[in-house]
Symmetry: C2
Subunit: 379 residues, 2 copies
């Protein structure tokens, strides 16, 4: 008997499409050809008006829901929100979840082979922005016969993409779901990213990003970067509740082994991540975060940016999130209100910090479900 829960989308298989049409990026660089790896859940209806695009954050990918096989121990990264009867109800919606350009789990990225050289792109892979991903995701929509998304949804960096979609292609988005996100990074946010990149780039195994050619990986640097990231994803309170000052062993050893549980946990998380994620991708993702600032072209006035937006918005934030605190969501809400956009905003009590958008919480998923149920789609 299957261990897969009934309210799951079940076993899913990633799909891939190859694109030969060059994509010009914000930086001016061009990607000549690329693959998009994606998963879909549910069925596109005849009117093609029930499609929901899921945008992932820094370290996630196209595997947003369901399982890859019967023995899969963990479902996709947003399985709490995608499935039959869940907020993004696959009985009603056709869900499209691509992994982004520059990623390391299928879609074309730094460790893909550059057809021009026959070697991995590495540091020659061009810098990306949220706006570039929206253009890239639009190509996928066109291939799948989707002229308008019922909704574009994401948390964190994914929420930035959901926002950017509504700005960039106002006619293609009916609802924008922006969770635990921000209108742009603060100096402190950028600073944390800068430290993470410094750790990776100063690892001697990094070889200026050409580590594939040296048959190595900058795992020490990536481990440090991930350990640091992890601190910013959790709340101070959650870390306190989970670990406090609990020791790994019965007593202090007065050495540099992991003495406290929290050290041991972070080291494990860092090592596990360094074993599966690509360092060049990590760099690209943090830079895309740094660059995101849709109001910049309007002298910092976000309300002006939203004046041409047609989508309705659902925003959510979490009390203990200090990476993108509720105040950052409120900045977006104020700008939307000033621009007379239709916006629903909810702030949820949660102890889980930034990661709260990935954690089951009946208030959050209940409100998200209620919002999604009101989105009209053809039978």
């Amino acid at each position: 008997m299957s261990k897969i829960p009934e309210n799951s989308v079940g076993i899913v298989e990633p799909q891939a499409l190859h694109f030969d049409e060059a994509l010009t990026l914000v930086s001016g660089k061009v990607i000549e050809q690329y693959d998009i790896v994606y998963e879909t859940y549910g069925t596109l209806n005849g009117a093609a008006d029930n499609a929901v695009l899921i945008c992932h954050a820094l370290s996630a990918d196209h595997h947003a829901a369901g399982y890859h096989n019967e023995d899969d121990s963990k479902p996709g990264w947003w399985d709490i929100c995608i499935g039959p009867g869940k907020p993004v109800d696959t009985n009603r919606f056709f869900v499209v979840s691509p992994s982004n350009l520059g990623h390391c789990s299928g879609s074309t990225g730094p460790r893909s082979i550059d057809p021009k050289t026959g070697k991995a792109f590495g540091p020659d892979f061009p810098m990306l922005t949220v706006s570039d991903w929206v253009n890239y995701q639009k190509r996928l929509a066109e291939q799948l016969g989707i002229k308008q998304w019922a909704a574009v949804a994401g948390g964190s960096l994914g929420g930035m993409q959901a926002m950017q979609w509504a700005i960039q292609f106002p006619d293609m988005v009916r609802h924008s779901i922006v969770i635990a996100s921000a209108p742009k990074l603060s100096a402190q946010n950028i600073a944390f990213n800068a430290v993470a990149r410094q750790a990776i780039m100063s690892d001697p195994e990094f070889y200026d990003g050409r580590y594939y050619d040296h048959d190595t990986v900058p795992s020490s640097g990536l481990k440090v970067a991930r350990m640091l990231g992890h601190i910013t994803y959790l709340s101070d309170d959650a870390m306190g509740d989970k670990f406090g000052r609990e020791l790994k062993n019965d007593q202090l050893n007065y050495d540099y082994g992991a003495e406290f549980q929290v050290e041991s946990y972070l080291r494990y998380q860092g090592e596990s991540f360094a074993g599966r994620f690509d360092a060049n991708t990590y760099l690209l993702m943090t830079k895309a975060l740094d660059y995101f600032d849709p109001a910049d072209v309007h002298g910092g006035n976000l309300a002006t940016v939203f004046e041409t937006v047609k989508a309705k918005f659902f925003l959510a934030s979490f009390t203990t999130d200090w990476r993108f605190s509720p105040e950052r969501s409120r900045e977006i809400v104020r700008a939307l209100t000033d621009a007379k956009c239709d916006v629903s905003y909810l702030e949820f009590d949660s102890n889980h910090g930034h990661d709260a958008f990935l954690v089951k919480n009946d208030n959050y998923t209940g409100a998200f479900r209620a919002y999604m149920q009101n989105i009209e789609v053809s039978e």
Copy 2:
């Protein structure tokens, strides 16, 4: 004409004392002999009851006030608080400022020569605790003929020493000045330290702490550690006000150079620190912070610890300090109150985060001065 301001202690010269009496540490390890480098400002009175001990934090040292020569561009680290007419008024007090055991600026530490081997101690230098430093500072007090401190004062890790003095030698401290400190590190505090250590220890130039023998330094790791530390010393607001999203050049370059001012600033701070500080000392200091938890022996009850304390306390915290927030000082104040100790506590508005204790602020220095003026000393 001298550039040295009138309210300065003027030009000062570090002094050194050699100690042959072995010091047994909390870890059980023993330091057979050691040097203490220190500075003094003001004059010890006949009754020897006007001595104030200054305890430094992670990266500071014995040079707390004044200048080392006429051309010195910067005074000691707490010059805003120590000098004629300043809070620790050198017209009244005899100020003693040692650098701690394990440090890299004079007192015996990892880069000192181990007489047993003729080589630098490196990783063989034993782990230290705040309690060990108090014992070490007591040896200095004895040599200088000081039986009781009028006050022991410090900020951050220095405040922990001021607290520990009052606990460990209740008859030797009349006033304990604890600024921007905490009764113990939180899981998040420990986590940040763990990442900093990971960055240093995974630098291939670290050589398990024996980098002196390899004629190198783990400067990349130390740079990352310091960049990270710096983020936790500044407030989110202060970083926002100082740097915002300002670019280093006129436009984005879409590369991995420092694009934002805050990146450039952090890199500079990290490099400058890595050029002057010793990595093994950095490791030791972060561990001493981790270990500090005077209530642990009493099942976490800090009030019980304070029951035998005789000193009066002055505590101060700063609104935007998120490394040791005002709430952490309030924990100490509540325990002192429960133990019926005499305590003054002030919370100051400041935009400078944890670093606020080092920054001129009339409210803070004014209150500190008023408290110190009330300390009675013989003529």
